[in-house]
Amino acid sequence: MNAVDKLASMEDMISPGISACVGCNVELALRTCLKVLGPNTILAIPPGCMGGVGVVGWDMETGAKVPVFFPLLDNVASMLAGIKMHYEKVGRKVNVVAFAGDGASTDAGMQCLSGAAERGDKIIYICYDNEGYMNTGYQRSSATTKYSWTSTTPVSKEGRGGKKQNKKDFPMIMAMHDIPYVATCSPAFIPDMVAKVEKAMEASERGLAYLHIFNPCLTGWGIKPELSIEACRMSVETNFFPLYEVIDGKYIINKEFKNPKPVKEYIGYMKKFKHMNEDEIAEIQELVDSKWKRLKRLSTL
């Protein structure tokens, strides 16, 4: 069965009418992942956009059909580890899943995620990376791209500024934990995402499975809603965010482009890079190229 038919046959585990921004590709990713994960799932939604739009709930109503809770920003993986330990102890197979932003994953919650990965806690950890603290109005995170405007890395009237440091390469950091499964996903490549969620479910019987979804944020980054998926696609087709997986230490590149588009085309989709000059764009291009080369080399090992 192809992915479209498969998804059509699966129940949407997220309630209709959650209050995500128009065109939000995180909502699409969440619904897709949860369809594949199915009803036998316990879901953690920490502080962040998906908490803010009501997936855990609002007063007496909930946004999810599966058991869902609101972990702290910095203890997502640890709380899930405890839940999973209980179900392993009583001998019940349950998907124990995080759907967490980059702040909860690469910053405040990194220690506990690293700990859970090292211990082999059998959870599925999905990070939706929209490069910052979006639910509080876009402050920078360690996942923010260099030169990006954010509300805490402003751009001067002369057009100088933005974030000063490179984006933390978090999927690679997770891969270095030697966990059974790491993969990157994009809302522009849904069949690829579906397959990876299925692989993560299988791998989580052996240890922690980590999925890193790259979600350009329309509201925060200044992207037109109708270009939501295009911006996602461009991040992959420029090799800015390559789709790959690491299965038990083996690196596999899932999408390879004979003539990758220049990073400038991806950068052109959003307001947050509007101030960048040619030198700065060239610097990002250089970084993308060198990281791609490294990934290629890893994939031949």
């Binding site: 009803p39 036998n40 799932t41 316990i42 908490g51 009501g54 855990v56 709930g57 609002w58 007063d59 007496m60 109503e61 909930t62 946004g63 999810a64 059909k65 599966v66 058991p67 869902v68 809770f69 609101f70 972990p71 702290l72 910095d74 203890n75 640890s78 709380m79 899930l80 580890a81 405890g82 839940i83 999973k84 330990m85 209980h86 179900y87 392993e88 102890k89 009583v90 349950v94 220690q111 506990c112 690293s114 700990g115 090292e118 211990r119 806690d121």
Partner: protein, 396 residues
């Protein structure tokens, strides 16, 4: 028949926890709590307990793992001290507001700075308003007995709150005493199993835990939480009596009174210092001073009525604190005892006393001096300035 063993406080705590059969245990080592983790891991390695243990990377994760496991339905145990407790404050507070009956031993240790690894109750006393129940043990037998009782109190439907069993670092954690070990089958019958009905993360019973909640509901949550704290006083009394019937050790509930029947002067203490205080009471009585002791076994909820009653007939009293209340110029328990008495319209002179910080000994001599100060306050008819128990020789 109960077995007799010679145990340090940490081993007594680990045995108490093991006998309570938790499903999930997670703890991060920190002096002076470390042996609790080691003993428990050893029991598990030898197949003596079947708990799942997580070798966590921090205290924040220790509390988070047991919170998750408790949400899923496990009985859980952890232990910490001092900086570890400070690090876990975020999930610590939340364990109580989620109404999870987690049991955590706190091996009381001084807070930094300056650096100190020795005893002091500043750690647990500083978090007394985080919604947990807090009890303080005097000796190793009480540590073991209270860890077991803690599960029964915490899991009672009228309570459903997490509980700390606190005991002094090194004075109890590393000192050995004779301890009676209750029979396992009797403990099993006493505790039963934990079956959560109020909160659960289970795909068979989908529930949303902690949606964004309006203030009216938050007020209701807090109101019920406060009532549950008060219920714990009743439940503690019942559990204390039942445990006494089964195992022959009854502790008097939230407060232990020692020679208070006809006492004119009282000391109020918490934890292991009470042993020295009891000796001092005996010695003062030999000198004709009608002294008595009130030992605070429970600090949260604060057993207001019991304290008022115990101190209702004295001419004056003093409270010895192994902690400080910044801004009050006294210890923490002193302020709380005074607040309780004010409620009861009892305004006899009192003496705030601070001692034993950073592991300093509180000697029988110091307790004798403390009682002298209490007698003096009655004669002068006014509250004393705060007394600091200093070892004059060492201070030089």
């Amino acid at each position: 028949m109960q077995k007799v063993e010679i145990l340090n406080g940490n081993k007594a705590a680990a045995i108490g926890a093991a006998m309570s059969r938790p499903g999930v245990v997670a703890a991060y080592p920190i002096t002076p709590q470390t042996p609790v983790v080691e003993y428990f891991s050893e029991f598990a390695a030898n197949g003596e307990v079947d708990a799942a243990i997580s070798e966590v990377e921090s205290e924040l994760t220790a509390m988070s793992v047991v919170t998750g496991a408790s949400l899923a339905g496990s009985r859980t145990f952890t232990a910490t001290a001092s900086q570890g407790l400070a690090l876990m404050y975020e999930p610590y507070f939340r364990a109580s507001t989620l109404r999870l009956p987690i049991v955590m031993a706190i091996v009381n240790r001084e807070m930094i700075s300056p650096q100190s690894v020795w005893g002091g109750q500043q750690d647990s006393m500083s978090v007394r308003d985080a919604g947990w129940l807090q009890m303080y043990a005097e000796d190793n037998q009480e540590i073991l007995d209270m860890i077991i009782q803690a599960f029964k109190i915490a899991e009672d439907k009228r309570v459903l709150l997490p509980i700390n069993i606190c005991y002094d670092g090194f004075y109890l954690s590393h000192m050995t005493e004779r301890v009676l070990i209750p029979e396992q089958e009797k403990v099993d019958a006493f505790l039963g199993s934990y079956k959560p009905e109020h909160i659960i993360l289970d795909p068979e019973k989908p529930m949303a835990v902690d949606p964004l909640t309006n203030g009216v509901l938050v007020m209701e949550y807090r109101n019920k939480h406060l009532k549950a704290q008060q219920n714990a006083l009743t439940v503690l009394d019942e559990v204390d009596k039942e445990y006494g019937r089964l195992f022959g050790r009854e502790y008097g509930g939230a407060v232990e009174e020692y020679r208070m029947e006809d006492a004119e002067y009282a000391l109020v203490t918490t934890g292991s210092m009470s042993g020295a205080a009891k000796d001092a009471v005996d010695m003062q009585r030999e000198k004709g001073i009608k002294a008595g002791l009130v030992r605070m076994r429970m600090i949260r909820p604060f057993p207001k009525d019991r304290v008022c009653k115990a101190l209702s007939r004295v001419k004056s009293f003093g409270v010895v604190d192994r902690n400080v209340s910044f801004g009050w110029d006294t210890g923490i328990v002193y302020q709380e005892v005074k607040a309780a008495l004010y409620d009861g319209d009892n305004k006899v002179p009192s003496v705030p006393i601070i001692g034993g910080l950073g592991g300093e000994d509180i000697s029988v001599g110091m307790m004798m001096d403390s009682i002298d100060r209490v007698v003096k306050a009655a004669a002068e008819g006014k509250n004393s300035e705060c007394i600091w128990l200093m070892n004059e020789e060492e201070a030089k």
